[in-house]
């Protein structure tokens, strides 16, 4: 019985030269559900092996554990290796706090809005 969480992937139409997907995560990512949810992101990365850009919309994410942070760093590594970027948007203070303590905020930027995150992709 997993803790309730939803992970949805949204296509973003716009600049034809930029392949952008927004991943919205709502609820709590923990030991009971993170392995299953992570598979969706790995499938997305496999289907889009080159120059994939990801914005993680974390506005409704209430909790994430160390394993979910591990997956996040792994996604970042895979996307970055293939010329893409990973950016976080709208993370709550407790989420930013845990990302900071493991040093991830040095790698992945957080923006207060999705629009600013989109603009951040070109920085």
């Amino acid at each position: 019985m997993p803790t309730p969480v939803t992970l949805t992937i949204e296509d973003v139409q716009g600049d034809a030269n930029i392949l952008l997907k927004i991943i919205k995560i709502a609820g709590q990512l923990d030991e009971s559900n993170v392995d299953e949810e992570a598979k969706k992101v790995y499938e997305l990365i496999e289907q889009n092996p080159s120059k994939l850009n990801l914005i993680l919309d974390l506005e409704e994410l209430e909790y994430m554990n160390s394993k979910s942070i591990g997956y996040l760093t792994d996604w970042y590594g895979k996307v970055y290796e293939n010329g893409g970027k990973v950016i976080i948007a709208k993370a709550k203070p407790n989420i930013l706090d845990i990302l900071e303590v493991v040093g991830l905020t040095q790698l992945i930027k957080n923006f207060p809005t999705v629009e600013e995150a989109k603009a951040g992709l070109s920085q």
């Binding site: 709590q28 554990n65 160390s66 760093t73 792994d74 493991v102």
Partner: protein
């Protein structure tokens, strides 16, 4: 209501609560919620620290389930709260898990992991070595004679208050200097 609550909060006697949990990850979510409420409602720790301790408890419980007690067994979590002084949390497993480790082995692992930068491809290893170690003042592992481990963490409120006070004095000092 407020005055009664205040009277209760001012007691010097520690609040001690013990929870026994089946070794299923799903049940840890309930302990996280409980941790958040307990710290917010019975201590002087800030909301930020309530969330931090939610993570600390989660990581300790997951560790005990993964390495300490087999499926169908249980783990024990004890909270000892002294309102204006500290919070202590003990997580105890039974040493029945297939991946069980001795206290010394876990301490060695943490020392190895705490000092190094994590590769992007490492999924595991941040829980105890980064989150728990960074957000607690004391972290000890003790082997139980009958098998299993007791992990004990403690955070002192006084250290946080002293740091906050020093920080605010330092800021105030800077402001005065600028004004002058």
């Amino acid at each position: 209501m407020n005055s009664e609550h205040k009277k209760e909060k001012n007691t010097e006697k520690p609040i001690e609560i013990t929870i026994s949990l089946p070794t299923q990850a799903y049940f840890v979510a309930g302990v996280r919620d409980f941790t958040l409420s307990l710290i917010k409602n019975t201590t002087d720790f800030s909301e930020q620290w309530a969330y931090r301790f939610q993570s600390v408890v989660d990581e300790l419980c997951n560790n005990a389930i993964e390495f300490g007690s087999k499926q169908g067994d249980s783990i024990k979590i004890t909270f000892i709260v002294i309102e204006k002084e500290s919070i202590e949390i003990q997580v105890e497993d039974n040493g029945t898990g297939a991946n069980k480790l001795k206290a010394a082995e876990i301490e060695k692992l943490i020392k190895e992991r705490a000092g190094k930068e994590f590769s992007l491809h490492e999924i595991r290893g941040r829980g105890l070595a980064k989150i728990v170690l960074e957000w607690t003042d004391e972290l000890t592992f003790t082997d139980k004679p009958e098998g299993g481990i007791i992990v004990k963490v403690k955070k002192y409120l006084t250290d946080i208050k002293t740091k906050e006070l020093k920080q605010s004095m330092s800021l105030a000092g800077d402001q005065t200097h600028i004004v002058l």
